[in-house]
């Protein structure tokens, strides 16, 4: 039976939401292929994460070692490969986060398998499962066949419904895997977090992004984000200029987001940017240039200066919040 192993990811001791989507994707895959879905949590002091994952009703293997305190593909890939073998998994699924994109190709290489990045759906007919994935900045969707005993897929979290918690939790079992630290040639030195206490860009209900049009002044974006408990995003131009942190870049080569509302302020709408936010339910664009391509995808476009439009919008939001409507 082709089993499916879901590699979970955690941040600050919490299971990442994207991993619940990976679990959802694995469920969709299992409905096609049969086989059992199980989970894997790797790290140090990650028992809570494993419990959280198992609460979705799947058996979870956990590898909990001091040597795995910091994620490194060099130390994690062999652990995932060992767990996949132990689970009899022929599919390995994870989220296409920075970590997932780093790790999963290594797992495939180690297992002699094949990997596809950024799956948005499983297609194909009958027994055959094809992976649908974007290419050319999302201008093209490809259905690809993965030819190999072991198939490794990173999934785009915005495209799969997150798995729900189950009535009955699955088991959590420690998997005995040794890590030979002396063989690891990569060392973790430091991590500098960029985030304040705003919601995660990929998980927020509302995202407000600023581009070159902000001219480096994100204060109006921040003020509206405060009011709406929104995440802040950015175009590449604003990140390159140093106005926003690198992990706030939305687009083909940055984050893919699908919030309920996406507000693009001072962003022209290059296809590389659209690739990261076209999936939002409602898109609002604010731009001084009536010809800006962002208006073609925006549900609501305002031709105007973001430094006038955003404060005006903020007053309306504030007034409405006061009235409780």
């Amino acid at each position: 039976m082709p089993n499916i192993l879901v590699v979970a990811e955690h941040f600050n001791g919490q299971l990442r939401k994207a991993s619940r989507s990976a679990l959802g994707a694995a469920g969709a895959l299992a409905a096609r292929t049969g086989g059992q879905v199980s989970g894997l949590v790797v790290g140090y002091r990650v028992g809570g994460v494993a419990e959280d994952l198992a609460a979705h009703g799947i058996p979870v293997a956990v590898v909990d070692l001091p040597a795995l305190t910091h994620y490194l593909s060099e130390s994690y890939a062999p652990v995932v490969a060992a767990a996949a073998r132990a689970a009899g998994a022929t599919w390995v699924v994870g989220a296409a986060t920075a970590q997932g994109k780093d790790l999963l190709p290594c797992v495939a290489a180690l297992m002699g398998g094949v990997c596809a990045t950024d799956a948005i759906a499983f297609t194909g007919e009958g027994q055959e499962v094809l992976v649908r994935r974007p290419m050319w900045a999302g201008n093209v969707l490809a259905d690809v066949e993965l030819r190999g005993e072991i198939k490794v897929v990173s999934i785009r979290a915005t495209e799969f419904a997150a798995a729900e918690k189950a009535g009955l939790p699955g088991s959590v079992k420690a998997l005995p895997v040794a890590v030979d630290e002396s063989a690891i040639r990569t060392r973790f030195i430091a991590f500098a977090g960029s985030g304040g206490d705003r919601p995660d860009l990929t998980e927020a209900r509302v995202v407000i992004s600023g581009g070159r049009g902000t001219n480096g002044d994100f204060s109006e974006i921040e003020a509206l984000a405060d009011l709406l408990n929104a995440a802040i995003g950015s175009s590449r131009a604003a990140v390159d200029a140093g106005w926003a942190a690198g992990d706030l870049q939305v687009g083909q080569t940055g984050k893919v987001v699908a919030p309920e509302v996406y507000i693009a302020a001072g962003i022209s709408g290059a296809q590389q940017h659209l690739a990261g936010m076209k999936g939002a339910k409602v898109i609002i664009a604010i731009n001084t240039d009536p010809e800006a391509p962002i208006f073609q995808v925006a549900d609501y476009g305002v031709v105007g200066d973001l430094f006038e439009v955003l404060p005006a919008l903020r007053s309306l939001v504030a007034a409405s919040q006061k009235q409780g409507t």
């Binding site: 941040f11 490194l72 060099e74 986060t97 920075a98 190709p105 290594c106 290489a109 990997c115 596809a116 990045t117 094809l130 994935r133 290419m135 050319w136 900045a137 201008n139 093209v140 969707l141 490809a142 259905d143 690809v144 066949e145 993965l146 030819r147 040639r185 990569t186 973790f188 030195i189 430091a190 991590f191 500098a192 960029s194 709406l228 590449r236 990140v239 390159d240 200029a241 140093g242 942190a245 690198g246 992990d247 083909q252 080569t253 509302v261 409602v282 898109i283 208006f295 073609q296 995808v297 925006a298 549900d299 609501y300 476009g301 305002v302 439009v309 005006a312 919008l313 939001v317 409405s320």
Partner: protein, 267 residues
């Protein structure tokens, strides 16, 4: 400590171009498309050149593809790379095949460092560097960036974002990861893939382009490498994504609010 660095350059469609799928889904419309070096590879070449300028050494640029991809090797040579290698290959390639070929080149050339782009902007796989590192069993860091912005003095003075240790046995890499920047130290030899914020690539000069014409580009057939390639990612059909509606203009912020809050019921 002089460094021998292998960099890759892939020929890709101009990222500004709008890519259209053929009606039968068998490929993309290539008529009228222009090509260039994958932007991430340009960043890889730039970083390799800066390392060479600071520490000495050699920069070798490799590309796998049909005869026309020699133009992208020449771009890297015009930027300042020393010599090129083209592995002749017609037809589709997947990340595993590219990594298998690169592994053979790496075994032959024995560089201290391989720098690749994090992603090809055509197939958007983001895999080759990871697979190569795993196959070699080398230290690796994907998504190399730097702490300073691209408008900083560090960038204006063309400082290396990758920092070689004084004894030349390891290199520090700042990576763009979810939630911030991570610093890793890699024992050499190592594989590194570039993100957008590592540097701003230099523009090729006319003398650079002239010089590049005389630089050697070796041509290798896959058979000479003693490997058999089996495609494992088979593109079966291409589709155009569904177009998003939109395009509605509102005249005032009040009208925006009425529509967004009142009608759509959001915010």
């Amino acid at each position: 400590m002089p460094l021998k660095i292998l960099v890759t350059s892939k020929r890709v469609e101009d990222p500004e171009a709008l890519i259209l799928v053929k009606a039968d889904g068998s490929g993309i419309e290539t008529q009228g498309l222009s090509y260039r070096i994958n932007p991430f590879d340009e960043i890889a070449v730039e970083e390799a050149l800066r390392l060479k300028e600071e520490h000495g050494g050699e920069v070798v640029v490799a590309s796998i593809g049909a005869a026309d991809c020699v133009s992208e090797i020449r771009v890297a040579l015009a930027m300042g790379a020393d010599r090129g290698i083209r592995v002749d290959h017609e037809g589709p390639l997947d990340p595993g095949m590219v990594a298998a070929i690169l592994q053979k080149l790496v075994e032959g050339e024995q560089p201290d460092l391989v720098i690749l782009g994090k992603q090809s902007v055509d197939d958007d796989q983001n895999q080759v560097g990871q697979i190569l590192a795993q196959r070699m069993g080398w230290a690796r860091a994907t998504f190399a960036s730097k702490e300073e912005s691209l408008e900083s003095t560090a960038e204006k003075t063309r400082q290396c974002g990758l920092r070689l240790a004084a004894d030349g046995t390891s290199i520090r890499v700042v990576r763009e990861v979810d939630g911030g920047l991570e610093t890793l130290e890699l024992s050499l030899p190592a594989v590194i893939t570039t993100d957008l914020r590592l540097n701003i690539p230099r523009i090729t000069s006319v003398p650079g382009i002239m010089k590049a014409r005389k630089k050697p580009v070796r041509e290798i057939q896959v058979e000479e490498l003693g490997i058999e390639l089996q495609p494992a990612v088979i593109v079966r059909k291409l589709h155009s994504p569904s177009k998003r509606g939109g395009g509605l203009r509102v005249k005032t912020v009040q009208e925006l609010w009425d529509k967004v809050h009142g009608e759509a019921g959001v915010l």
